[in-house]
Symmetry: C2
Subunit: 588 residues, 2 copies
């Protein structure tokens, strides 16, 4: 058995006889001497094959090539030319015996150049890509993150419980992956979008504290940071209020940041959903930089400019951000204008401050008293640019929120070493769906309203829901759940769900609350996102050992793939338009 | 937030003011005094509601019923009538304030009577069944087992890596659950039967040590101890030989038994597959009792009895077991005969020893010299019964192996407190399939043969495969894998798999071994089975929070279920004979 981590040897080991295993990372042939960097999971060590001292056939050493897997015996000696780039750089192994364990054909891509990223090739040979240090380190860090989290939760008496993968399909939410049942033909299981129902039932079952690092599935069109299967750190507690769940989650994150990054994070600030939207134009603000949204409605309400007059008359608002030290040209601002249009804004009004005067798109028409008012309200510096959006409230917030992030990225003002956590609380209970012309749950219909009386005013009704945000990404979220059947009924009413419909859709789950349901709540962290942020990558494929492409394919194993007619027949299903579809259908 | 575990209070806590939460386990109304056993995850504590000292409405206390969920404030006092049956029996809580958190309707079954086991009802209300102490304890022990195993593996530098659930369907092995792809219509994912391929690829990827507590799936007709989804502790290591993997697994089990049962298990004995079959008639012997299979072929080969003569002439064998202290009647033996017939034996020949003479089915025709030989070979005691099966080798072993277990159970000679572990090694590389008239892999075609030369003699070729057995159950198994493409080719040849076929069936996986594959091997433990054995239950449903029935249904959530036509349309599939099948098919 392999006893040593190659990367762990130091000068103190000089003189040791060792048997090492690993892969040839690099080979230099200097005639009678061959140098090999031997790699294993722990790092590199230099091997020296000397024609005079190697007891086995020197030709074998000459045969060595990149990624050959070998076993060597030798002695650790001091190195004359110290390599300070690697931890084992003070030593080398003079090899006495070499055994080639297996050879390596021509590699399909250069695994030593991290920049080589023909994704089709690297994913097809994922097992080779995983030999890259950066990727392997991320996968290892992912394991450490799981261990750290489990340690915390086990210590706090949370019980790890596995919930089913073969579940019931629910019509709400994202699209389910479904699995045909062979025994009950015509019926299907669904893969869980989350263990939500089960974790609440475990509270009803009296477990009080549950967690699971759970696989979840959504058959949605994939974006760059989405995978069809993802992992959730799923947590639920009984006999708690919102603050208890948040305190628990915060402690967990504190321990995690200490364990993984050796960072002591301060108490996580709390912001309401309303403040987050108004100040950052986002319910997941990146607080690593300021450039907050400023309300210019009051200042501009008396302007005669048609643009502003119209908006204000139609209950719209005018907000803006002040960009400092940008050096933006008119052309740059035009590009930003196009960018905000993607988010529904009709355009950007802008002012540039220099030598106590404004230039810019609205400078000419801006009334001088209003200009003075702006100057005195915001102590402007030369070069400051004010970017304004006037529109209905939601559009103003969304577009300025996006613009704020875009500019920060563009001007490179974000400190990448910062980890800014944030709680967003007091989420609205309902949101109005223009498509369906009715109020829908912001989270899910089992989320507890802050005050049951407010339910009559759905627009202003808040819920006991909360998100944890890190550097502008939602990394976790949860809520206190309704445990009182009467409150649940009222929420269904507010959602315009009849008793019959609620029975049909949520049947057994609603029934369960009749049998002494404890107050409970919880949250879930997205593990993949968390690993991404802690490992400083924006590619979700980096944090998953065997990821899928945006068309949900595994290029390595070539899944999904065709299955046999026999398999389909056994399941009582057929492919529409497929070869065996017609044949079978005529049999009926 | 709930601060206390109700079951943790003792006499030392007398005088404490506490706020407790939990469920009413039992209530006794004594007029002005009401006693309630309050239950939480930790146990019971007695509450006293006294009309004189309760500050809240006493009527509320009178309303209390089984499984009401409540919150109380009160003081811990000494109890006059000590209840030695429960750990908190010396104390009680005099309640000053009561809040009913939620009421409980009439329970659908008596959750306090463990014997009530109308499975349909208890599974439908699984969340109520989970309130039973026995079941909850098993689920909690399962979590402890997972924690103990992870601790061991993390300490030994195994890296926990998640492998995909949406995989490629493989034609070999058990039946796959398949998942239709929406993006690639007509194609399907398969749920993994095990992470075998992925864990080997992780070794090729250089991780050296991998583990995962992995969900696996098999769409097979379910037996009592099978579930469609099950959990496997999946382990793989590079640069190891068989003994290294076994030593690791043995250490892991030693730690587990210490952590969970506080038992120090001795070095696990090793038996070859051949010896296991010959001595116990099983490749997973229960060694908690002897009653081993004895070979009577030599002794009986000169008998003139037609039965034996025929068998011996046809290369069959005669084996038997000696049953002691059974008190079996002729009728009992007839029943055992019927039992062995299920396993293919044509019958049981038997001898009963008493006062130095034999009675029984073959006593009359047994030649006296042979009878004397039997007596002198096996030092028999009065009442001993010899049960013999004469048949072809396999039938003799199978039927006597089953008979041995049946009798042990029947005579209750197994010490239920024993945990007898056993390694079974040297499994045959191939087994002959009479159906397919060809040699097949006993494990899988990637298992390493002990000696590649032996491959020419498939009947006698052994593999580097091993099983761990506990009390007659296989709890784990694994092998050293082939890492040399040339050896793999030879194995495919022996299995009559052509190059084209191996490419088609194992394609990318075989390719992967061209790029410096390390020698590797591993094993997997069946977690569900392990929990069953450690928790002393023979019902697999006891070890799974939300299990399925033998028809693979979840009676609680009613999965599988019908899905909408829209869902099926999006996936491009139809149900054969289903309503929308014809309609859609005519469209093509």
């Amino acid at each position: 058995m392999k006893k040593y981590n190659n990367g762990s040897f130091r000068a103190k080991d000089i003189g040791k006889q060792v048997t090492l295993y690993g892969w040839v990372n690099k080979k230099r042939n200097m005639g009678g001497m061959i140098f090999v960097d031997l790699r294993d999971k722990s790092g590199l060590i230099q091997l020296v094959f000397n024609k005079d001292t190697l007891k086995t056939d020197f030709n074998e050493a000459e045969k060595l090539h990149s990624e050959y897997c070998i076993k060597v015996k030798g002695i650790i000696l001091a190195r004359s030319d110290i390599n300070s780039k690697i931890p084992t750089g003070e030593i080398e192994v003079i090899v006495s015996e070499l055994e080639i364990l297996s050879e390596c054909e021509l590699l399909p891509f250069n695994i030593y150049e991290e920049n080589e990223t023909n994704e089709h090739t690297t994913l097809k040979y994922r097992y080779l890509e995983l030999r890259r240090e950066r990727l392997a380190n991320i996968i290892r860090t992912r394991a450490k993150i799981m261990t750290s989290i489990r340690e915390y939760l086990n210590n706090k008496e949370f019980c790890e419980i596995e919930t089913p993968i073969l579940c019931k399909s629910t019509p709400e939410g994202a699209r389910d992956y479904i699995v045909p049942s062979r025994i009950q033909k015509g019926s299907f299981y669904a893969l869980p979008q989350s263990p939500q129902i089960f974790k609440q039932l475990l509270m009803l079952g009296g477990f009080e504290r549950y967690y699971q690092i759970a696989k979840c599935f959504r058959d949605e069109d994939l974006r760059a940071d989405r995978q069809p299967e993802f992992t959730q750190i799923d947590i639920e507690m009984s006999f708690v209020e919102e603050i208890d769940v948040r305190n628990m989650a915060e402690e967990l994150i504190k321990k995690l940041m200490k364990d993984i990054k050796n960072i002591d994070i301060p108490k996580i600030p709390v912001i309401t959903y309303k403040d987050a939207i108004e100040n950052y134009g986002s319910d997941k603000p990146d607080t690593r930089f300021d450039m907050m949204l400023l309300d210019f409605t009051e200042i501009l309400k008396n302007s005669e400019m048609i643009l502003f007059k119209n908006i204000i008359e139609n209950n719209g608002i005018i907000k803006g951000i002040i960009v400092k030290n940008s050096g933006y040209s008119r052309n740059d601002i035009d590009k930003l204008t196009e960018y905000t249009k993607v988010y529904g804004a009709k355009g950007l009004a802008w002012l540039k401050y220099n030598d106590n005067t404004f230039s810019g798109s609205i400078a000419k028409n801006l009334e001088s008293n209003i200009a003075e008012n702006i100057k005195s309200t915001y102590s402007l510096s030369d070069g400051d640019i004010i970017l304004l959006v006037a529109d209905e409230t939601k559009t103003v917030h969304t577009s300025l929120g996006a613009l704020r992030l875009k500019i920060a990225e563009n001007l490179n003002i974000i400190d990448k070493n910062k980890f800014n956590f944030l709680w967003v609380v007091d989420f609205p209970m309902f949101e109005y769906s223009k498509t369906d012309k009715r109020w829908k749950s912001t989270h899910h219909p089992f989320t507890k309203p802050k005050n049951i009386e407010d339910i009559k005013d759905p627009e202003n009704c808040l819920s006991d829901a909360y998100d944890m945000v890190l550097n502008g990404y939602e990394i976790g979220g949860g809520s206190i759940r309704i445990h009182d059947s009467k409150v649940q009924e009222k929420v269904f009413e507010a959602l315009n769900i009849s008793k019959e419909e609620s029975r049909l859709r949520f049947g057994f789950f609603v029934d369960a609350f009749k049998y002494g349901a404890p107050p409970h709540g919880g949250l879930a962290f997205g593990l993949d996102r968390l690993v991404m942020l802690l490992c400083n990558t924006d590619n979700i494929k980096d944090v998953i050992a065997f990821p899928k492409t945006q068309s949900a394919s595994d290029l390595m194993s070539e899944a999904p793939s065709e299955v046999s007619t026999i398999q389909l027949d056994e399941l009582g299903i057929a492919i529409k338009g497929g070869e065996n579809f017609w044949v079978n259908s005529t049999k009926n």
